[in-house]
């Protein structure tokens, strides 16, 4: 669960990135965050990951009060969040399997569990045949699916996808969002930042529109495929 109460963020440069924002995303929700660049979307993500702190207000993420969270506890928070980057950010010297297994190693999971869990998650994103391939041998869509497997592997309560379709072919974008929807159906909260309005219109659901540091629209709309 993500909850912001009257949150403002002012950067050292004097820029007001977020302005008295209140927002609540419940467990199991799927929400699109849209808005033009510079509107405050990245600031919102950075807040949730505690890369930055709110200048004022309260940020609660998965039961952690971030303004009271000690620096040493940040890794603990981040282990409850899966993150998907626009540019995939896979480690080029590791195979698909290693890239995914890596997350479990970071949290010191038992080796037996790693051997069972990693192939399972890789098969969930449909890449079981590419387990031993390196990222540069994969297409953009496949790389993003590896990234999603990586975000999913430690069974986080929340997955944040930051423009996950920004660097891949439009027709493959739908596949990616379908995949995220499927994960959401299993109970994981998903927060997807995008500025591709076609996608949002197609899938529908909760749309949060940020503009100039304020939420200007936050409603559930029906998607095009709902009508079909």
């Amino acid at each position: 669960m993500v909850e912001l109460k009257n949150v403002s963020v002012t950067y050292n440069t004097g820029v007001d990135a977020l302005n008295n924002v209140s927002l609540k995303i419940n467990d199991g929700e799927f929400a699109f965050v849209v808005g033009s660049s510079g509107a405050g979307k990245s600031t919102l993500i950075k807040l949730i990951l505690k890369e930055i702190d709110a200048t004022s207000g309260v940020v609660m993420v998965n039961g952690y009060n971030l303004s009271r969270l000690k620096k040493k506890k940040i890794p603990e928070l981040r282990r409850t969040i899966g993150f998907v980057f626009q540019n995939f950010r896979l480690i080029p010297t590791m195979t698909v399997y290693e890239n995914v297994a890596f997350v479990l190693r970071v949290i010191d999971a038992p080796r037996k569990y790693i051997r069972k869990r990693v192939p399972y998650v890789i098969s969930l994103v449909g890449l079981q045949d590419k387990s031993n391939a390196y990222p540069n041998e994969l297409s953009g869509g496949e790389q993003q699916r590896v990234a999603i497997a990586r975000a999913l592997v430690n069974d986080p309560q929340l997955i944040i996808a930051d423009e996950p379709t920004g660097n891949i072919d439009p027709e493959l974008s739908y596949e990616i969002v379908e995949l995220l929807k499927g994960i959401n159906d299993c109970g994981t909260t998903i927060l997807m930042v995008t500025h591709e309005h076609d996608l949002v219109r197609h899938f529908g659901g909760r749309i949060i529109n940020i503009n100039s540091g304020s939420i200007v629209f936050d409603e559930v709309i029906g998607g095009a495929n709902d009508e079909a």
């Binding site: 890794p75 603990e76 993150f83 950010r89 480690i91 010297t93 970071v106 949290i107 430690n154």
Partner: protein, 302 residues
């Protein structure tokens, strides 16, 4: 607390990283190698100069001449008192007869003169005294002077002063050079590892995002830096060993200077091989590991 399997994984990662990032590892290796060699050779050079000066010093002794009419008991008494002094290493009695014999031998062309003297030995008994700390020679001389039955003390004071001054200057210069080299090396090493870490900032940032602790991120870099440093230390040992022996060979066989100042003053590599190897490898490991870890710090604040 991290499990043993986790630590093993991290160490393996560090070992693998050396190979995966072999270009950067090679750069770090070269820098470490050159740095260890520069500092190491400077230290060895200094230690040898010091040992040579020490060798020259040890050859210098104070000659204490005794009164001409001294009795056997009085002589023994002086010897005992000399031996009790702190700064005195050894005391050797040199009788007037011995002195006379060696004088005759070294001046054979004057045999006639000696013959005319007959049994009348004009020389006097003396003690050859070697000193522990040559810088305190003046104090020791004045102490000896206070004893009874001392006729005269002869000491190479000027020479000692020159040597003491030389040693001071060599120490200052060597220390300055070694410190400068060490600093330059550290700067270059930290820049090289910084480049190596920068090349992997992506990896580090991903680790941060998936909730890796700082310790977890650092261990592989630590291991990697340490391995690179150990290999560099090993190579530096081999190069130093070969180079050192070659130089010593050259000095002993080709250059006669050493025969004058005494070859014994040059330290043989065999006698310091373990010290050199240990110091090289240890400092390589230490500098490599610390250099890597310091360089990761900046990238950990995500």
């Amino acid at each position: 607390m991290m499990k043993l399997s986790g630590i093993r994984y991290l160490v393996n990662q560090g070992v693998e990283n050396v190979w995966k990032n072999r270009m950067m590892a090679f750069a770090s290796f070269c820098v470490l190698l050159v740095s260890i060699l520069l500092v190491g050779i400077s230290v060895l050079f200094y230690v040898n100069i010091n040992s040579i000066i020490g060798g020259i010093e040890s050859k210098n002794e104070i000659v204490v001449f005794l009164d001409k009419d001294i009795t056997k008991e009085e002589t023994d008494d002086v010897e005992a008192k000399l031996k009790q002094m702190d700064n005195i290493n050894s005391v050797e009695f040199y009788s007037r007869e011995e002195a006379y014999d060696s004088m005759q031998q070294s001046m054979e062309e004057y045999a006639e003169v000696f013959k005319s003297l007959g049994d009348d030995n004009p020389l006097i008994d003396s003690f050859r005294v070697s000193i522990k700390d040559i810088t305190k020679i003046s104090e020791t001389i004045s102490l000896i002077d206070e004893l009874d039955h001392i006729f005269k003390i002869r000491a190479p004071l000027d020479f000692v002063n020159i040597l003491t001054e030389m040693r001071k200057i060599v120490t200052v210069i060597a220390t300055a050079i070694i410190i400068a080299l060490a600093i330059v090396s550290m700067v270059i090493i930290s820049n090289t590892t910084k480049a190596s870490v920068f090349a992997r900032r992506n990896e580090i940032s991903i680790m941060k995002y998936v909730g890796a602790t700082n310790a977890f991120i650092r261990v592989p870099f630590f291991v990697e830096g340490m391995i690179t440093g150990i290999i560099a230390g090993g190579f530096a040992t081999i190069i130093t060993w070969l180079g050192y022996d070659a130089v010593v060979d050259l000095l002993t066989n080709e250059v006669n200077i050493l025969n004058i100042i005494g070859v014994g003053s040059i330290i043989s590599f065999d006698s310091i091989a373990w010290k050199v190897t240990g110091t090289y490898i240890l400092s390589g490991a230490l500098v490599g590991a610390i250099g890597s870890v310091i360089s990761t710090r900046k990238h950990l604040n995500v």
